[in-house]
């Protein structure tokens, strides 16, 4: 799990770097700071389980096992990317690892996850779906519609709310009166738990229970993971709306730092082992960057392909 989290963090830092060099078209929404959630949840999933993701989706892709180089190539708009350059940072999918795709419409992924759950049920497999979304999405109608639907049909869906306090620049407390989004689960008659989203082990445990419930036909669970994005909403956002003290406090709660500290406790991992892991990750990321940069852009006319299957 540490490796994955570290991989996400370094990957995002690299994307940020490439963006500064104008190698990344458009905008980017970095997952840095929220790694514990994707990793904590996906570590409970099998390859043939599904996830749905959001505009802040690089971390979900990596956690679910997508290839770094193809993610990076997609972010750079290259032909070798997962979506042949048609999706970009906000629209990556890898159906080979059950990553059903990121949607850049806030809240749009929830009903799709429900559909995947329905499909699992109809086809009679024991797969599950983890549906990632933010605190902002929990105010969309789809949140209500989807969770209710999954609840009444007892679908194998784990709704994972990444509450990073801000929906763009809007503080959660200004747009909802409940403190815990997890409390909303009561309305749909399903379990709802709020956990420290910066503690990968807590997330893992919560997800483990939810996945178990889902796999055994007991229906969905809503897990709210309290977290914080290290950067602004997107690349262009300096996030001046966040008080300095708040940012500093959350940086102290950096999930990777905390997990590393835990791992370094006696009887777990040696510092050298961690260094080794980190070194491997860095090499892998460099390879991904090299691959992405060296990959060709798609031909312009390819814009007309893939509209219909």
């Amino acid at each position: 799990m540490y490796k994955k989290m570290f991989e996400i963090r370094r990957f995002e830092e690299k994307v940020f770097e490439l963006y500064a060099q104008n190698l990344v078209p458009g905008t980017i929404h970095l997952y840095a700071g929220e790694e514990a959630i994707a990793v904590g949840v996906c570590s409970n999933l099998r390859k043939d389980d599904y996830i749905t993701s959001t505009h802040r989706g690089h971390g979900h892709c990596i956690a679910k096992g997508a290839e770094l180089k193809r993610i990076m190539a997609e972010i750079l708009g290259k032909k070798t990317g997962y979506c042949k350059g048609k999706g970009g940072s906000m629209h990556i999918a890898d159906f080979n690892v059950g990553m059903l795709g990121a949607t850049a419409v806030v809240g749009a992924g929830l009903p799709i996850a429900v559909g995947a759950g329905l499909s699992i049920k109809l086809r009679g497999t024991d797969n599950v779906v983890a549906c990632f979304f933010g605190d902002g999405a929990s105010n969309q109608g789809t949140f209500h519609e989807a969770i209710n639907m999954a609840a009444i049909w007892k679908l194998p869906v784990i709704f994972v709310c990444e509450n990073n306090v801000y929906a763009m620049g809007t503080r959660q407390s200004t747009v909802m009166l409940v403190e815990n989004i997890a409390d909303r689960a009561i309305a749909y008659g399903i379990p709802g738990v709020a956990v420290d989203g910066n503690n990968v082990l807590t997330v893992y445990e919560a997800a483990q229970k939810a996945v178990e419930r889902a796999r055994t036909g007991q229906g969905p669970t809503l897990i709210e993971c309290k977290t914080y994005r290290h950067k602004g909403h997107s690349r262009i956002d300096p996030a001046k709306y966040r008080p300095k003290e708040e940012v500093e406090e959350w940086l102290r709660k950096d999930p990777i730092k905390r997990f590393k500290e835990k791992l370094l406790q006696p009887n777990t991992l040696l510092e050298t082992e961690i260094r080794q892991i980190e070194k491997e990750v860095l090499t892998k990321i460099e390879e991904a960057v090299k691959f992405a940069i060296e990959s060709p852009h798609p031909f312009a006319e390819e814009a007309l392909e893939d509209v219909y299957a």
Partner: protein, 324 residues
């Protein structure tokens, strides 16, 4: 050949496809055990296929389509029903941004074999929220196919093609067509997309019409025959893909075009077809293109008001006479 109604033809298509392919299932509001669909299209299917495959849903249009999308990209073939076409507005993100774009946006990795059935059309006095014809909205979304069957034969054949296909299909039905009877063979058949049907041959004027308007156009053609005006009626059957070839061939023959569609005139179905002909076959036009469509108003309630806005034989004849 035996005759069955449009509604029965649709039901047969659903039944046959559900028998043929266990991954086909239906979902929608009140389509199942208690009601059989607001227009009874799915009536009786729950008895054969059970509640799991003929699934009543909460009143959550967005989630209905979203769930259908999610199910479609994970190995099943959902057929979602939205009770009235107007209510597709509630599910527009899932239709236009998700269903239509997933194949493209993800670089062709996944297919979205999804059918959204919904009735359009005015004429039954249920006013502005249950009477519109919004085909043009969906024609405007790349990635969607749009079917507009006007007869029981086409309804069954097109629906089967839609269900077996690899793309999201927006399947437009029409309230006034449900009870209409027509010849439908007992034997298996499908109707391909993108192939217009010349519903009547003629040589003086081409009328391109869709859905219920096909029947109005056919009556007009019959009436004008006595006056020596020979009208060809072309039914595109699918608006996306649009069979430009058949429409243009007909215009090349007649030199005159009237487009009849029940949606609002501005930026509507008729606008697209008229523009296509103007762009690709203007040299064959011997008279201005005429459009017969609804005026740009919501559908009013009171019968005289409603009848005033719906295109009818009279307004079609007027348009034909202006150019023939």
């Amino acid at each position: 050949m035996r005759k069955i109604t449009y509604k029965e033809a649709l039901r047969e298509a659903l039944r046959e496809e559900m028998r043929r392919d266990p991954t086909v299932f239906l979902l929608g509001e009140d389509i199942g055990r208690y009601w059989g669909g607001a227009f009874k299209v799915t009536k009786g299917l729950v008895e054969e296929f059970g509640d799991e495959r003929v699934r009543d849903t909460p009143i959550s249009e967005s989630a209905i389509i979203g769930a259908a999308v999610g199910a479609a990209i994970t190995g099943t073939r959902p057929v979602a029903e939205i009770m009235f076409g107007d209510l597709t507005a509630l599910a527009m993100d899932q239709i236009a941004n998700q269903a239509a774009k997933i194949h493209y946006m993800f670089g062709g990795q996944v297919k979205v074999p999804l059918v959204i059935r919904t009735p359009f059309g005015a004429g039954v006095n249920i006013a502005a929220h249950h009477s519109q014809s919004l085909e043009a909205w969906f024609m405007h979304v790349p990635g969607l196919y749009v079917a507009v069957p006007s007869t029981p034969y086409d309804a069954k054949g097109l629906l089967k093609t839609a269900i077996r296909g690899s793309n999201p299909v927006f399947f437009c039905e029409h309230k006034l067509l449900y009870p209409m009877e027509g010849a439908v063979p007992e034997d298996e058949y499908t109707v391909p997309f993108g192939v217009a049907d010349v519903k009547r041959k003629g040589s003086d004027v081409t009328i391109v019409a869709t859905l219920y308007m096909v029947h109005e156009a056919l009556s007009v053609a019959k009436g004008l025959e006595a006056e020596g005006i020979s009208v060809e009626v072309v039914d595109p059957r699918t608006l996306a893909p649009l069979d430009k070839h058949t429409i243009i061939s007909s215009v090349k023959k007649t030199g005159r075009l009237v487009v009849v569609s029940e949606d609002c005139k501005t930026a509507g179905v008729s606008a697209e077809i008229a523009a296509t002909v103007a762009e690709e076959a203007i040299d064959y036009l011997d008279a201005p293109i005429k459009r017969v469509a609804e005026p740009d108003t919501p559908i009013p309630f009171s019968p005289p008001l409603e009848q005033y806005v719906i295109p009818n034989e009279k307004s079609i004849i007027k348009a034909v006479r202006e150019i023939a």
